[in-house]
């Protein structure tokens, strides 16, 4: 092995190979634009953005978890529960909207902390702890709502609204949360610790990182982001539904993994996750535009997830 040399190819090639998902996203957009000129209209692109927003925000939370070598299966249920608590506090308990919104966010944080305590202190496998939370949170949502949708207060409805006809708030929330995620992952002690814990938990401990506390932070953030996503979804619909966001945890995980993160931990970026969520949304929208049978859409999406990870794995192997 030689000492320091410039060893990489041209910049664009490096970027292309590091951002395989981005290349795929661009290719997807180009193909759809050619097949369906209506795809590139402002209105449709905004739709795609709004559709991507909920999954993207969930996925940003999951990025923290996956980078630190965990998994959070509960985010869909926690999103629904948080939105329900927010809506119920206002509609049934009569609390002011902003307070209801904060209670909703707090619900997400508490659910995340419970996950964190079970994983960090109870030594439960993350898969099991969050699977249990998936069930508990969904059940509590049904208990609180008595099985019927509850109208959201203005403070929450605002999250799903359009500021101007061409400026949907979910899009802005998604970008703000993206920026926040990138900042946390790249710049903060908590974020850097996630990479260390995900890469080698024992080395993290022996280097003086408080692994237990950092795991609490990870799951609390995941819960908080789930709450934001849940309220955005409810705000868009004008009500919090007991069956909202069912199965969204899998879309979130898919977005993170398509974005290049590794389920074995230590690898993953906010930008990758954003691209992953956009790929899923573009694909769904495009398949609708092409009037593909919805039953087949699920098949296509499954194939795309498998392909994305397969290509990524092959690329990594050949570069080693």
């Amino acid at each position: 092995m030689t000492t320091a040399t410039a060893r990489r190819g041209p910049d664009w090639r490096r970027h292309a190979s590091e951002n395989g998902a981005l290349v795929a996203l661009i290719a997807l957009v180009v193909v759809l634009a050619v097949l369906r000129p209506t795809f590139l209209t402002t209105q449709n692109l905004l739709n795609v953005g709004v559709q991507a927003a909920v999954v993207a925000v969930l996925a940003f939370g999951s990025t923290f978890v996956i980078v630190s070598s965990g998994i959070d299966l509960s985010v869909g249920s926690v999103a629904a529960l948080s939105a329900m608590v927010g809506a119920w506090s206002s509609a049934e308990a009569g609390l002011p909207g902003p307070v209801a919104l904060l209670l909703g966010l707090a619900t997400g944080v508490v659910a995340g902390l419970v996950n964190g305590v079970l994983v960090a202190h109870g030594k439960l496998p993350a898969f099991i702890a969050t699977l249990a939370m998936l069930s508990v949170a969904r059940g509590l949502t049904l208990v609180v709502s008595q099985g019927s949708p509850v109208a959201t207060p203005d403070a929450i409805t605002f999250l799903g609204s359009n500021l101007t006809p061409h400026l949907p708030l979910p899009l802005i929330v998604m970008l703000v949360v993206f920026g926040l995620t990138a900042l946390i992952l790249n710049r903060t002690y908590a974020g850097r610790s996630m990479y260390v814990i995900g890469g080698n938990e024992e080395a993290a401990r022996l280097s003086g990182i408080n692994v237990k506390n950092q795991k609490l932070v990870v799951y609390a953030l995941s819960g908080l982001f789930a709450a934001v996503a849940g309220m955005m979804l409810a705000g868009r619909l004008g009500s919090a539904g007991p069956q909202a966001a069912v199965g969204y945890e899998l879309d979130a995980i898919a977005a993170v993994v398509i974005g290049g993160a590794s389920l074995s931990g230590g690898v993953g970026r906010a930008f990758g996750t954003l691209v992953g969520a956009l790929i899923l949304a573009v694909l769904r929208n495009g398949l609708n535009q092409l009037q593909v049978n919805p039953f087949w859409q699920q098949v296509v999406i499954g194939v795309v997830i498998a392909l994305a990870v397969l290509v990524d794995t092959l690329r990594r192997r050949s570069s080693r």
């Binding site: 000492t3 002690y189 908590a190 890469g199």
Partner: protein
């Protein structure tokens, strides 16, 4: 090199292999005869493991030509290598601990009858395979119950089958004790007599003297020399390092100062009992003993990684809270753990990130890490330690063992601990890098810091320590000044504990 004659089983000519621009192998030539032990010698990062992986079919070379039994071949996969009669024992064992010895031996080719595994036949067939490596264990026992040496024998037994003509062993003795190593060398000699050609990688020059027929030296990815068996140690080192090394153990002791680390009566049931010692400023205290004497357990407990039942640990006169790594670090204690990859490094992260692990907390203001400062300090440390890397952004996984170890030590040096515990710091590290690590120890103690050096390498403990604490069966068996200590005297203490216990009983 001579034309391959009938005795030549494998040749490699002009082998070149690049990784993302870095030249790992550069025009390497190598030849292996039937019935010889051919040692590959070189520093970490010289290209030995890459060459092994080329032979094993893990990497395909960019240029060059391989022949097996005189015929040109392309070894495109591990499967192909096996078909050509090349068996490789890698550094990491690949056994399944929960399965039985026999099942591991026949992994992937279990004998079947009517689609069901034929257990009786499997157990029967295992016996001759185990005999070939001289291993007497019940083939029905789970592998996890066996010692590491026995597991390695099973690995070898599995790799060998009747048409194996080349056996490659990549640092097999690194994890073995002395007697286990003796056993392995005997088995290697036995296989050589059966006509197998062996490629053997080791850092122990002593083992080379005992078993090698020829030695090919690699340096910076090139094959620089082929030496006969009788080559002097001095000559081997010169060829390997490319310069002569003045002193193997350049310890420069000073006047010891105040006590920085005091361990008093440290006890954990079943692991260690009543362990006491002191380390003073400017001092290197060696901890010697047999594998399993409890040395690693004691230093891990002192550093707060594991709990202990009674006793105290003081750093600079301040008593440490048990089981609290961060308290130990704040007091000025550091630990470079024994298991570099498992406990020291984050393999998925870059060299720069790894160097910054310990200082990350103190470089954090209001939750934000000063990454620019971290990077600058990492860069300075990497060049001070002469870490061979293509840059701070290179993944630490891609570095050689010695350079990885420098990174682990470097991350602690950046935190400037008052007492640094080094647990087996030079295991699997080549001669050149070893001396560099020793120089680091000298620099630390010259600056008034202290070092606790745990090592199974007796010449190292004696050569680099000022005082030596010898442990046996979880107790301190004795302490002696390093000046004038001999391997015999240290060993006598390391094995005498039973007698002491009987006398005091």
């Amino acid at each position: 090199m001579a034309e391959p004659d009938s005795g030549t089983v494998l040749t490699a000519r002009g082998i070149t292999k690049r990784f993302t621009g870095a030249l790992a192998l550069d025009d390497v030539t190598f030849e292996l005869k039937r019935g010889e032990v051919h040692v590959l010698l070189g520093e970490n990062g010289a290209g030995k493991s890459t060459l092994v992986k080329v032979l094993a079919g893990v990497h395909t070379p960019d240029e060059g030509e391989l022949t097996v039994n005189g015929r040109p071949v392309r070894i495109t996969s591990p499967h192909r290598a096996a078909a050509l009669g090349i068996a490789v024992i890698h550094q990491e064992l690949t056994l399944v601990p929960e399965l039985s010895v026999a099942e591991n031996l026949f992994l992937g080719r279990l004998p079947r009858r009517f689609g069901v595994v034929d257990r009786a036949r499997m157990l029967r067939d295992a016996v001759p395979l185990l005999d070939r490596v001289g291993l007497r264990v019940d083939p029905a026992r789970p592998v996890r119950e066996l010692g590491i040496a026995q597991q390695q024998m099973i690995e070898i037994a599995r790799a060998l089958d009747l048409n194996t003509s080349v056996l490659v062993l990549d640092e097999p003795t690194a994890v073995l004790t002395e007697t286990e190593t003796d056993r392995l060398l005997e088995i290697m000699a036995g296989l050589r007599d059966q006509g197998v050609g062996l490629v053997f990688i080791t850092h122990h020059l002593e083992e080379i003297r005992r078993v090698a027929d020829r030695i090919t030296v690699l340096r910076d990815g090139r094959s620089v020399a082929m030496l006969p068996a009788g080559a002097s140690v001095q000559h081997m080192i010169e060829q390997m390092v490319g310069r002569s090394i003045e002193e193997q153990y350049p310890r420069r002791a000073g006047e010891p100062g105040e006590v920085l680390l005091r361990v008093d009566g440290l006890t954990r049931e079943g692991a260690f009992r009543d362990v006491s010692f002191e380390v003073r400023a400017g001092e290197v205290v060696g901890v010697a003993g047999l594998v399993g004497a409890g040395r690693t357990e004691v230093v891990r407990a002192a550093f707060g990684v594991d709990r202990y039942d009674s006793g105290t640990v003081e750093v600079g006169g301040k008593r440490l809270r048990p089981g609290d790594v961060r308290a130990a670090m704040r007091a000025g204690l550091g630990l470079v753990p024994e298991d570099r990859k498992g406990q020291g490094l984050v393999l998925t992260s870059s060299v720069g990130e790894n160097l910054g692990l310990v200082t990350m907390r103190s470089a954090t203001r209001a939750g934000f890490v000063d990454r620019r400062g971290q990077r600058r300090r990492a860069g300075e440390m990497a060049s001070a330690l002469r870490v061979k890397t293509s840059g701070l952004d290179q993944t630490v996984r891609e570095l050689s063992g010695g350079n990885q170890q420098k990174v682990v030590i470097g991350k602690w040096l950046l935190a400037d601990p008052r007492v640094l515990v080094l647990d087996e710091p030079t295991r699997g590290v080549d001669v050149g890098a070893k001396v560099e690590i020793y120089e680091l120890i000298n620099r630390m103690t010259a600056a008034g810091r202290a070092v606790l050096l745990v090592s199974s390498d007796l010449p190292e403990v004696i050569g680099m320590s000022d005082r030596i604490v010898v442990m046996a069966h979880g107790r301190v068996a004795g302490e002696l000044p390093a000046r004038g200590a001999t391997q015999d005297r240290v060993m006598a203490l390391a094995v005498q504990e039973r007698a002491v216990e009987e006398m005091s009983a």
